[in-house]
Amino acid sequence: MSMSKARGALLLLCLPALLLLAACGGSTSRGPQEATGLAYVDPQGTGWRLVRDATSTPTRLVLNLVGPGGTTCRGVGFNLQAGAQVRFTTFDNGWHANPTGVFELKTVVVDPDNPPATPEPTFFAAGVKPGNLLTVGIFQKDRRATAKAVTAPVVRIALELDPAAALKAGDPLPLAVAKARILPADIGDLSSYADVISKSRLTDIPVAVGTLSAQ
């Protein structure tokens, strides 16, 4: 049996049970249910985009930032605007974002004679600015580190529906990237000051965002 057929069979088995549960609830309302979580449909395309992570739950939506194939870079930052009905939540690290390990955040070579501070601070931070604007930055600080491929998730964020929002399932929710920039792979060769000064700068990128709604 193929995997798709197995899933179809499972759905058929469950359908009568769902109908039975609805009947026992005694509800006569035909309108949408009050929303308790978030639904998200991934955006189309293969560029920079925010896609749903498998660890998402009905009440906590986790999104991954992934980049286009064939692209390498040294870090990325973005500002994500959400409506007041949504809350950005924190991870175990206490930040509103979680690194995935793609970017090399610490010093590359630990020279025993000139070691970094312990623990070494990194160019990683996230927070929510007034107006519910999530700001995230994750960058390699050591230019000796190689630029990294970004097809795997480079950073995660998480959202929840505000319980006080009183939305109905299916209600659309705004979500848009207001600004996004990467630190490119080529930030200049240290043997040439002119090269470094001309290339060491952030580059704007578009980030596609899927469709967010209450559920």
């Binding site: 206490g94 509103h96 501070a117 601070p121 930055g137 700068r201």
Partner: protein
């Protein structure tokens, strides 16, 4: 939240003669009895160690912890004071110490207040001692020769990591961030393995270097770096005559050499060799010797002993102007003051307090005069003690023109500095410097935070006492008179004003008059103020007249003093018998009360006066009603934040430009928890890099919300109890511009722009450093992270 004051009582364990507590004053014992006790000192110290180890469980020490003897001495009352280092698996725990008192009758008290029972370790060291030594030497960046560093593997409490350091900018008179001395980052564990690497040398290329580096034994990271310089067949023993600039004509202990000439070498001040001379030069220097630096453009930095004097008459009494003849008559004048001052202080220890020198064992210190600034070669406006060389260094000061150094453009000598010093060999300054050696060899008060202020105060106290001792009546060497001291440190050597005022420290515009929450990150020469003032009150009393400059609002009824002698004995006993490296103001107060009880009885007038003098500087001791206390909550985000030992970092809020934050303060021991806010500090300035009286930065609302101005920098904040305004706390806010990418927007994306300049010798754009520095390093990274978290992180 600050821990409540811990009295010595909390760590007290009674051993052997259970229940023993001195009910009254302990009188000095007959000399023969003291000699007998001193002869058994080693045995008595060993019994103290056994008692302390037996008491280890009650002191909270874990399995694997032990104590080892560090030092012992016997007081005139017959008490053998034994200091012990705490060890874990055989390794010393930095700053952790116990004291045991073995009384004349053999009973033992163990004082465990300075122990660190929570010391634990997990991962083993990975670096070798040789690697740590190399790291220390590289940090020191010496140009000349140095003996091999001393290296010790130890357990390091990470709350003593260095953090940010400030330095006074001579041009502006304002404290700024000292990036060279700043150590960013702190291990997340409370204790780590660390190598203590002591780099010490004295040569013409480097001058005097006495640096201590704590190197993380797993990562090689620098956890802390400190200068241990504390700014400010023998022929026959003879006595010479000196003419000093400050002390006038005095008798000096000198030596007649084999050729009949005389040297400035005392044979009665020191009986054991100087440890640095043994280590560095393989020489036994026994007995106080005064050296000088000789300077001319050819033989710059040559160091010599004063010798070959044909008549044993020293100095001419005039300020030194005779460059480059430091070794001739005019040059001897500073040596007379220094040699006499150090000798007299030593005599005071011996004859008043019954102590044989700094360590109680007669180890020889030395003095060096005419020291120049090792970096610039210019005349030096400072004097200092060095733990590493076990000696003192005295500069000539810049008040008079520098005839040796010439302006390269005009060819003229550098003119004198009206704000500068004359020779820093004034009597109380000499006493001050030698007494750093006493502190080093006894309590070992850590030279940062509150303990650092107490370290400085202790030297000021001894300095003012020796100034009075100079005027003692003939034949009364065992007491300090109540006259002769002016309650100023360096009252003569700086024409523009003394270095410190002990009766009203804030007269200098910098020092604190009373203890308050936040004094721990004040520079130690200024946080000494409250204890200096406390000592002044204890000796000379405090007025009840609010119009008096010496009035204390914390003791409105005033008090009577008990005189220099009694006050000095109380301080000396508290320092040498009760204090440990981490003692803070409240613990010092408890130590003083205990010492007063030991000397004069717990119910004595002297003990009561001690309590009052402490109350007058807002220090509370055990058994008194709890006072309202205001404190700033510790900010635990980021590794920058908030540990003991940092001068000004603890509780510093780091926020982005123009953002609105909510400042918080805790009020303890008061029903009314509200505070009044002020941007700025109570005094004209303190030695953090902050604006004490900023303008145009807005106001803090009653609920603590405040919109940071569009102006970066450090700003002081003060929170005072609304119900008890005399109780307050001072903290800092550091406002930084995060807009590294220059798009007029502060966000986390800016970190990417900052990363472009990380670890480059010159920043690519000024905006890349949120601190505004000329390069981007981990300090900027850390500040970036902390600012974002504080402003927009999880509430």
């Amino acid at each position: 939240m600050r821990l409540p004051p811990r009295g010595l009582r909390a760590g007290l364990a009674l051993c052997l003669a259970a229940g023993f507590l001195p009910a009254g004053a302990a009188a000095p014992l007959p000399a023969a009895q003291i000699q007998a006790l001193k002869a058994r000192q080693s045995e008595r110290a060993a019994s103290a160690l056994r008692a302390a180890m037996a008491a280890a469980p009650s002191l909270g020490l874990p399995e694997g912890a032990s104590l080892t003897l560090r030092s012992a001495f016997t007081t005139p009352e017959g008490r053998t004071v034994t200091r012990m280092d705490q060890r874990l698996d055989g390794y010393r725990v930095f700053g952790a110490a116990a004291i045991a008192h073995v009384e004349a009758d053999g009973s033992v008290q163990v004082l465990g207040d300075g122990l660190m029972p929570d010391a634990r370790l997990t991962a083993a060291p990975t670096l070798t001692a040789a690697q740590a030594s190399a790291i220390g030497l590289k940090q020191a960046a010496l140009k000349g020769q140095a003996p091999a560093p001393r290296v010790e593997l130890m357990v390091f409490p990470t709350r003593f990591c260095q953090g940010l350091k400030a330095v006074l900018d001579a041009a502006t008179g304002k404290a700024v961030l000292d990036r060279a001395a700043t150590v960013v980052g702190r291990p997340s564990q409370p204790y780590v393995w660390a190598y203590k690497v002591d780099v010490t040398t004295m040569n013409s290329q480097d001058g005097v270097v006495d640096m201590e580096y704590l190197v993380d034994a797993r990562t090689g990271g620098i956890l802390r770096k400190m200068s241990n310089l504390r700014p400010a067949e023998a022929p026959s023993r003879v006595q010479g005559t000196g003419l000093g600039q400050y002390v006038g004509q005095v008798t000096l202990e000198t030596t007649q050499e084999a050729d009949g000439t005389y040297s400035l070498h005392s044979q009665v001040h020191g009986s054991r060799p100087n440890p640095f001379f043994q280590r560095a030069y393989n020489q036994d220097l026994v007995g106080l010797t005064t050296f000088y630096e000789m300077h001319d453009l050819e033989t710059w930095g040559y160091i010599s002993e004063y010798y070959g004097n044909p008549d044993n008459l020293w100095g001419d009494g005039f300020p030194f102007m005779d460059y480059p003849n430091e070794g001739l008559k005019n040059g001897e004048t500073a040596a007379v003051d220094a040699h006499y001052g150090v000798s007299l202080t030593w005599d005071m220890y011996r004859d008043v307090f019954g102590r044989n020198g700094l360590d109680g064992d007669g180890t020889t210190p030395f003095a060096l005069v005419h020291m120049r600034n090792p970096g610039t070669g210019m005349k030096f406006d400072n004097a200092m003690w060095s733990d590493g060389i076990f000696g003192m260094l005295f500069g000539d000061g810049s008040f008079y023109p520098d005839r040796l150094m010439r302006d390269p453009e005009t060819g003229l000598p550098y003119p004198g500095n009206a704000q500068g010093m004359m020779s820093l060999t004034e009597l109380d300054v000499a006493g001050h410097e030698l007494s750093h050696g006493l502190t080093f060899a006894s309590a070992g008060l850590d030279y940062q935070g509150e303990s650092g202020g107490l370290n400085e105060a202790s030297s000021d106290i001894m300095g003012t006492l020796v100034e009075a001792y100079h005027f003692r009546p003939k034949g009364q060497d065992d007491a300090i008179p109540n006259y002769g001291n002016d309650w100023q440190l360096g009252g003569k050597c700086r024409p523009s004003g003394p270095l410190r005022y002990m009766d009203r420290p804030s007269r200098d515009g910098l020092s604190a008059d009373n203890w308050y929450e936040g004094i721990e990150w004040m520079e130690v020469h200024y946080s000494s103020g409250p204890m200096n003032r406390c000592f002044h009150f204890l000796s000379a009393g405090a007025p009840a007249d609010p119009a008096s400059e010496r009035y204390s609002a914390y003791l409105p009824q005033g008090m009577d003093g008990i005189g220099n002698d009694a006050a000095g004995r109380i301080w000396f006993k508290a320092l040498t018998e009760y204090m440990t490296p981490t003692t803070n103001y409240h613990q010092a107060g408890a130590a003083m009360v205990k010492a007063a009880g030991d000397l004069y009885g717990p119910s004595s007038r002297e003990a009561a006066a001690t309590r009052k003098a402490l109350t007058a500087i807002n220090v509370q001791v055990d058994g008194e009603p709890l006072l309202a206390r205001v404190s700033f909550p510790r900010i635990t985000t980021g590794v920058l934040g908030n540990y003991e030992g940092a001068e000004f970092l603890a509780r510093t809020a780091v926020v982005p430009l123009g953002t609105t934050v909510r400042l918080k303060a805790d009020v303890a021991n008061a029903a009314d928890k509200t505070v009044t806010w002020k941007i700025g500090a109570h005094r004209a300035a303190i030695a953090g890099p902050g604006e004490a009286d900023p303008t145009g930065v807005g106001v803090v609302n009653a609920d603590g919300t405040w919109t940071a101005p569009l102006r970066s920098g450090f700003f002081f904040i003060t929170a005072a109890s609304k119900a008890r305004p005399e109780q307050y706390a001072e903290g800092l806010v550091f406002i930084q511009d995060l807009d590294a990418d220059g798009d007029s927007d502060q966000d986390a994306i800016d970190m990417g722009a900052s990363a472009c300049s990380w670890n480059l010798s010159q920043v690519l754009k000024w905006s890349h450093s949120p601190y505004g520095g000329s390069w981007v390093d981990d300090l900027d990274v850390e500040l970036f992270q902390t600012a974002i978290k504080n402003a927009w992180g999880k509430p």
